[in-house]
Symmetry: C2
Subunit: 340 residues, 2 copies
Amino acid sequence: MARVTIRQVARHAGVSPALVSGVLNEVPDLRVAPGTAARIRAAAAELGYTPNFMARGLRRRRSETIALVGDTIMTTPFAVRMVEAAQQAVTARGYLLFLVNTGDDPQAERAAIRALYGRHVDGLLYACMYHREVPVPEEITPPAVFLDARPDSARFPSVVPDDHGGARNAVAELAAHGHRRIAFLNDEAGPVAAGLRLRGYREALAEAGIAFDPGLVGHARATPETGEEATARLLDRPGVTALFCFNDRMAIGAYRAIRRRGLRVPEDVSVVGYDDQEFIAAYLDPPLTTVALPYSRMGAWGARTLVDLIEGKVPEQREHTPVLMPCDLVRRSSVGPPPA
Amino acid sequence: MARVTIRQVARHAGVSPALVSGVLNEVPDLRVAPGTAARIRAAAAELGYTPNFMARGLRRRRSETIALVGDTIMTTPFAVRMVEAAQQAVTARGYLLFLVNTGDDPQAERAAIRALYGRHVDGLLYACMYHREVPVPEEITPPAVFLDARPDSARFPSVVPDDHGGARNAVAELAAHGHRRIAFLNDEAGPVAAGLRLRGYREALAEAGIAFDPGLVGHARATPETGEEATARLLDRPGVTALFCFNDRMAIGAYRAIRRRGLRVPEDVSVVGYDDQEFIAAYLDPPLTTVALPYSRMGAWGARTLVDLIEGKVPEQREHTPVLMPCDLVRRSSVGPPPA
């Protein structure tokens, strides 16, 4: 593809190259008749002129590029929607996205961040694969926005899922169907979300007038196998008719434990998961009622917030607190009334 | 972060700024004592000097950036490993990766490609979410490499999974266990892989001395629900003891159909899937023997091939044929001998 030059566009539009350059590079305060500007843009479009962004970036002191640095996000298939949404949002604003996955190696991460600033990215998105607290690498300077992460510095905006509200929604759904003995299978690794979801579980119980029974809270690693074992233990507790699982992968194990005992979902035991993980929640038999993690909305929000900061459309703030993105309940077929 | 300058590095190393610039920018044929070059690099590292890649790119006529343009790859969680592997491979060679997901919209794709060339990417990776034939967008010029795609022009290197060999492996595994009536549940949408896998199925049968019975080939959409219905029909055929599914999602449905009939996997019916899809194959009960799609290897191969072309390490070829990446069998617990 031979590059179309400013000169060719100028000849086509019958104006000077300097005027073409001024119009196409959106030079501020340029004096030009609206009709002429339109003619120049039409000529550029007709000839397929592509601006030289790199040279323009040097003039404007802006590269119109954004970096997304992720810990292990690309190895987490269900979190890539956040990357996808961020990419779409920055593209819509005329930016291109650099993607670097650091594999959670701090040295690789710092080298990548330095290389990105060396290429003059206008801002940085820092994304985690799950809701966690992160020390801000000292290389990162504003503007930067943290996704699915709580940075240890209030200098940066961030967005995380409302795990507390999501768990409350899940347990309220079970209580609304008449369940009173609702077990909670939590993640024994104790991530940030585990504490928040336990709080949501207890609040929903209190709101429904159900006393908290610590014996109904189980712990396991977030896999089907350990979820199956832990569910079997919870089903030994008297009167349990419903189970809220920390995530959909544990719910796979819960289904197995329920089936191995000769019981059915939801006729004998109702189950609610968390994540709305693709290829799991909707594919379970019966399809799983669960709480969706708002990956797309977090990605889009973060990207828009970052571009607004870069372009000075929002004032810089000294102090930020994490924005909580709602986690909606997705109703499928795993919740029913308790057995009579 | 205040930027460290060439001047500061020069002062620290006790040499001229021109020499620092020459060493750090790897100017060819530069005369400098090895000890001096090492001292300059040490000084740069100590002070945290970051090269200005954009200015360097203008001088070198290389931006050290690569673009990965995908159709809907980021909405396909199991294909993101290809993106991950490509990113790691280009990073290892000192390049940064732009990621654009075009959502399979040709207009968005062309606009993105123009914008990427406008930023002087050194080369382009074009990735599809599944093995398919693609018309090459006219904006794309060499060097470019196609991943999981067969471009309609022989000017570009490409890599695709060896679907033919993978299917042969799957069916040979069933024949080796003693199965003679092996059904094949194919994708009715007829993607490139459907034809190749049917060929592999027939070849493996022929190699095992089993006559091909068209009545044992079923068709369905690639979902659990349709897989379940189609499997039920195949199980009505006399003597069927094994099933090869076009993908793991259909195998979910096959498991259900087998269970609904009061039969067990693998005691009554052996099942092999395709894809080795995360969170499905290993999580099925029993875990599914399947054929792995080589996403990581395709991504890494494509990235290395592209960088080699950019750096002139391999000669430009006029004509390319797609490289076939092997699809390995992953043995789990869904295959056994046929019932006595």
